[in-house]
């Protein structure tokens, strides 16, 4: 009986648990609550993914109101896959977060961090699960407002200005999305995604729909940090608490990329987005610029957290290229990379959190010799880095492989060459860290390994990087089916 309500429970449980955290106040209790809620969400999303994969789309009417009047939740393989990414990463990072957050922020009022975390999780899951365009905006703002809060809590005072910067940019992005949805409603009289996709073709020649498309594209690209709208991301990721950065990097931009796919392939038809509005050309050009310019910028960073933040913008570039290729393989590569990038960036930012835990600094020069003083953490960073580069047997290789296959399918050799060349830039910035960590004498030999409660989740993600790099069949099946659903293929 309860299984029919899974789509709404996915969102309702974290939403209800968030105020409960404020009531309980006690650090360990709220952490346990947040962790168990996140794990429940993970279990629900896995069962939803399995259900969507085996029996097809699940539709849920909120409050029993039929679709065009009430809000409808719609789960297919595409968003169920994203749900698993978000709730899975949240659960793993929460295990790690306890020690890391208490060390960086102090135990006082730590329950408010978990409240913000759960609200952010609610928002991200809500954006993904909903089948109603306005509902997307509401959940987007829930997740955005809580993420401004989480970033602003960072240990450095620059976290405040980074959060403010993100607040301004994020609000502009969300308001653009709101305008786009309003214009769509103006022309179609509906907010339900299925209805929208049926009614848009009749009016798709109007300027209003073109304007709606432009507003939505800009707004979503801003939230997803698609180059050149990534300005907020490096500061936000650099100054947020380590655990928050790991969670955000692994989930927030992924959900925005999902929105991009949902809006432009499902709601606007693929032919309108690509042929009439030529979105794919814009995405390809910005994607290629992103993978080169952002990787180059990453090479020159002294703060390695900022380095990885720029690398995140570059990685979004790969996803955008996959979408821009506009073929089943290209979109499959993009969806695969959503999952794979969540694994590698989550693991890398968690490794950085371990380093920060002991060294209180992430400046490259302060990392001298940590390969010997913190061998496990540094090894985790190296494996994560290899995955980021795309070395075989890691998940990074799987997504790059399919991305290159997709370019070759189109016969675009030059693009395949560019993708490989940009991976070499990743080799350079990961190597800089390896060089300092292993080949320079340690400044402080008293430094110990990070606590187990942080190392184990980090290594769990690293293991996932290798596991899904070797046994990629299952993720490829899900991603392939998701791409086929988005393109309306059988």
């Amino acid at each position: 009986m309860i299984s029919t309500h899974l789509p709404v429970l996915q969102v309702a449980i974290p939403l209800l648990a968030a105020p409960a955290c404020v009531v309980f106040r006690q650090a360990t209790v709220t952490w346990l609550l947040a962790l168990s809620v996140s794990c429940i969400s993970l279990l629900i999303s896995i069962s939803l993914l399995w259900q969507a994969f085996t029996t097809g789309e699940i539709r849920y009417e909120l409050g029993g109101w039929a679709a065009p009047w009430g809000i409808e939740y719609k789960v297919d393989v595409v968003n169920a896959f994203v749900l698993v990414i978000v709730s899975g990463m949240s659960s793993v990072v929460l295990v790690y977060a306890r020690e890391s957050l208490q060390h960086e922020l102090g135990i006082r009022r730590i329950h408010l961090v978990y409240t913000g975390w759960l609200l952010c999780l609610t928002g991200l899951l809500g954006i993904t699960v909903t089948g109603d365009a306005f509902n997307v905006f509401v959940f987007l703002e829930i997740s955005s407002l809580s993420s401004y809060l989480l970033i602003g809590l960072g240990p450095d005072r620059r976290a405040l200005t980074a959060a403010f910067q993100y607040l301004v940019m994020g609000t502009i992005g969300a308001t653009f999305i709101l305008i786009g949805i309003g214009l769509l409603y103006m022309m179609t009289g509906t907010l339900n995604m299925t209805d929208l996709s049926q009614r848009i073709p009749a009016v798709s020649h109007t300027t209003t729909i073109h304007a709606a498309f432009a507003f939505l594209a800009l707004g979503i690209a801003l939230k997803a940090a698609v180059f050149p709208l990534h300005y907020w991301l490096p500061n936000a990721y650099t100054y947020a608490p380590s655990a928050v950065t790991a969670f955000m990097a692994a989930s927030a931009t992924k959900v925005s990329i999902y929105l991009l796919l949902r809006f432009f392939f499902d709601i606007f038809s693929e032919s309108f987005s690509l042929r009439t509005m030529r979105l794919n050309e814009i995405l390809l050009i910005t994607g290629v610029i992103a993978i080169f310019s952002m990787s180059l910028v990453a090479i020159y960073q002294q703060d390695i957290k900022r380095m990885l933040a720029y690398s995140s913008v570059a990685q979004v570039g790969y996803m955008v290229i996959g979408i821009g290729l506009a073929s089943a393989t290209g979109i499959m590569a993009a969806i695969l990379h959503l999952f794979n990038h969540a694994l590698m960036k989550g693991a890398l930012f968690m490794a950085l959190g371990c380093i920060f835990y002991r060294l209180k600094s992430l400046e490259l020069n302060d990392l001298a010799g940590i390969g010997r003083t913190m061998p496990w953490t540094t090894a985790a960073f190296v494996v994560g880095g290899l995955s980021l580069i795309g070395v075989p047997l890691t998940v990074g290789f799987v997504s790059k492989w399919y991305l290159i296959l997709a370019t070759l399918e189109r016969g675009w050799w030059w693009l395949a060459v560019l993708i490989v060349a940009s991976s070499l830039l990743a080799v350079v910035y990961i190597w800089r860290v390896v060089e300092v960590a292993y080949f320079k004498p340690a400044q402080d030999t008293e430094v110990n390994e990070a606590p187990m409660s942080m190392l184990i989740p980090t290594w769990a993600l690293i293991a996932a990087n290798v596991y899904f790099g070797v046994n990629a069949q299952q993720t490829i099946r899900f991603a392939g089916r998701a791409a086929a659903e988005l393109l309306g293929l059988p």
Binding site: R157, T161, V168
Partner: protein, 117 residues
């Protein structure tokens, strides 16, 4: 004539551009929040204008009236107004913290204090 008839949309655009301009140009953080508010208000007016049905009355059932304005966009925008208030509150709260740390709410002075970026 039709252009003048759609004057609320002109106002929407005027406010939208004013708001964005203020956000981009001003270095004072509080002014940025004000600009953001003006920008969001323009969208509220856009939604409210969408709900207008020519010749329609308020959507209350009564004898003698057949045409009603669409209440749904108004309801939607109530939600967006709440979101706007929450954003403003959070933005101002951040400004209070920034002022406590830097003793200034001017972006240029703040960045002078933190030369690394």
């Amino acid at each position: 004539m039709t252009n003048i008839g759609l004057y609320n949309y002109w106002i929407v655009f005027l406010l939208m551009m004013t708001g964005l301009y203020v956000v981009i140009v001003s270095t004072n953080l509080i002014k940025k929040i004000i600009g953001l508010n003006i920008f969001q208000t323009s969208v509220f007016i856009l939604y409210i204008s969408i709900g207008k049905v020519a010749g329609g009355t308020a959507p209350i059932l009564a004898e003698g009236y057949k045409v009603y304005s669409n209440p749904l966009p108004h309801v939607l925008i109530l939600t967006a107004i709440v979101v706007g208030v929450a954003t403003t509150a959070l933005g101002l709260a951040l400004i209070v913290r920034i002022h406590a740390e830097y003793n200034s709410v001017d972006e240029e002075k703040i960045y002078q204090n933190d030369p690394s970026d």
